[in-house]
């Protein structure tokens, strides 16, 4: 069975749940190399997403994702707001007209989303940003599917890659965002945005089994 707007909702509600659980941790990470608000920002984003997801009447994945994009754009603020919004706008554009999507299409959509995030932030791999978790995650997701594995396996691969990408931001020196003004002092700390992105991919496990249901 394909992934519908309803499954996407489940995914994003779970993402919101994880953000709320990790609020303090995200803020702590942002205290070290930023301005101590990433947790608070993402918590506001989670609330805005949840409200949208519970009130929405949209049944097309693309329309739903656009509403979510708009909600996080207005809900989060700061740097993370437009970046996450770009991700969801990018995804929405890629699934325009579909009523449900295959795992491959989900991969393409996530790829479009991540590309759009990177473009908005003018971020490259190794800059110590969200993109350092998002990039490897979407690559792993698509490669796993391309290798013929199922959605569950692709999700697992994406989650591990996101977590690894997140951890690998620690030794990097930041080249984008606030942390870049710390110069060498940004080394040794995990990037807060990469950490919240890893939660986005962790939440994908809610879709595991969709294919077989």
């Amino acid at each position: 069975m394909n992934i519908t707007a309803s499954e996407l909702k489940t995914w994003l509600l779970q993402y919101g749940q994880l953000l709320i659980e990790q609020t303090e941790y995200l803020t702590k990470l942002d205290s070290a190399i930023g301005d101590a608000d990433h947790g608070v920002n993402m918590q506001r984003g989670a609330t805005a997403m949840r409200q949208t997801l519970t009130e929405t009447t949209k049944t097309a994945p693309s329309e739903l994702l656009e509403e979510v994009a708009e909600a996080v754009l207005e809900g989060i603020g700061g740097a993370a707001g437009p970046l996450y919004a770009s991700l969801f706008f990018g995804m929405a554009g890629a699934v325009d007209g579909e009523t449900s999507v295959t795992p491959q299409q989900l991969g393409d959509a996530l790829q479009a989303g991540v590309d759009s995030l990177a473009a908005r932030g003018r971020a490259e791999r190794g800059d110590k940003t969200m993109f350092d978790a998002a990039g490897p995650a979407i690559e792993a997701f698509r490669q796993t599917l391309d290798a013929g594995d199922d959605l569950n396996t692709a999700i697992e691969a994406a989650e591990s890659a996101a977590n690894l990408g997140r951890d690998e931001t620690a030794p990097m020196q930041a080249r984008k965002g606030r942390a870049s003004y710390l110069g060498p002092r940004s080394v040794g700390h995990i990037d807060p945005g990469a950490t919240s992105v890893a939660l986005l991919f962790e939440a994908l496990t809610e879709l595991s089994g969709t294919e077989n249901s």
Partner: protein
């Protein structure tokens, strides 16, 4: 340390209510977090809009009024406003002459103002932006360039006066670009501050330590150093800025000696005296001083210095009448 707040997530709204009550010339749209002039500018004056995260007060809301901004949009504490808020601010004050956005160079502000400008233009409003990136950052600038610091105050004053004087949107953009090349800032911190929602200081400093090359969000800086005398600090700031500014010999400046929020005025004037000496010793001179806490990081202790090379035009607009909560001169009763 406790804070004078109610609900910590409603600080900005509560602030705006107090601001409105205290300043009858201002109005506020609390839902959209916009502070604007109650009596809009007359004629086809270009409207000036700025904004950013809160916690830097008086910037930007304290600079709304005759001769400076037409509207300010207020994000949450240390968090850029969202595109919709910015669009609302633009819509509130836009005129046929267009709207100039003054944007501090922070990833979040840049992106949110960029999206807002695209949307407002789609709605038929002529919008241009000036990015303020004056921070020399105390070290090697990252690829995004310097952060927006004290030059923002100068830009709002000078561009505000020029707009009031009838300058076109193109003219303002050009003047803004010109100010960018002629102004630089640097800051040092002697304490962090406590984000009201996080509830604990962002970092801790030892008794005799300072953070060199800070931004305006209570964050650590480029490096940590031993605290020196006011004279040492003045020398560090002046030298770091002049190294980047490439000011010709015998330049003259408009100088902002800015407190980060928790530093008493007595220390800022001590710094002003030392900065003066450092500039004079290097053959420069000072046309105007502004001393006070104008762009802050909540209650952070520390200061920043902004040097703007002055010329007849900038001085004319600097001296022009202004009537805002935080800067006020030259307007007859």
């Amino acid at each position: 340390m406790s804070k004078l707040i109610n609900n910590k997530t409603e600080i900005v709204a509560d602030f705006m209510r107090g601001l409105k009550q205290s300043h009858p010339d201002l109005d506020v749209d609390i839902e959209n977090r916009v502070v604007y002039r109650k009596t809009p500018a007359v004629g086809d004056k270009v409207a000036l809009v700025s904004g950013g995260g809160s916690g830097h007060e008086p910037l930007h809301s304290g600079f709304v009024g005759l001769g400076m901004l037409d509207a300010a949009c207020m994000g949450e504490v240390f968090t850029s406003p969202t595109p919709q808020q910015i669009v609302r601010a633009i819509e509130k004050v836009s005129t046929s002459a267009g709207v100039l956005l003054i944007v501090k160079n922070y990833a979040g502000d840049i992106m949110n103002f960029e999206i807002a400008a695209e949307r407002a233009e789609r709605n038929g409003i002529k919008v241009r932006s000036v990015t303020i990136d004056d921070d020399v950052a105390g070290g090697k600038l990252p690829s995004d360039g310097g952060r927006g610091m004290g030059l923002t105050v100068f830009a709002e004053k000078i561009l505000g006066a020029a707009a009031e004087n009838g300058m076109s949107l193109d003219g303002l953009c050009e003047l803004g670009q010109d100010l960018r090349t002629r102004g630089r800032s640097m800051g040092i911190g002697m304490s962090s501050c406590t984000h009201p929602v996080a509830g604990v200081p962002t970092f801790e400093l030892g008794e005799d330590e300072i953070e060199v090359g800070i931004g305006i969000h209570g964050e650590p800086g480029w490096r940590r150093a031993r605290a020196g005398s006011a004279q040492d600090t003045a020398k560090l700031l002046v030298e770091s800025i002049l190294a980047e500014l490439a000011a010709p010999e015998q330049s003259s400046f408009i100088v902002l000696v800015n407190g980060m929020g928790g530093t008493p005025l007595i220390e800022l004037y001590v710094m002003a005296g030392e900065i003066h000496r450092e500039l004079i010793e290097r053959g420069h001179s000072v046309d105007r001083y502004l001393v006070g806490s104008h762009i802050t990081s909540l209650e952070m202790a520390g200061c920043s210095l902004t040097l703007l090379q002055s010329d007849a035009e900038s001085l004319k607009y600097w001296d022009a009448p202004v009537s805002t909560p935080a800067l006020n001169w030259g307007v007859a009763a």
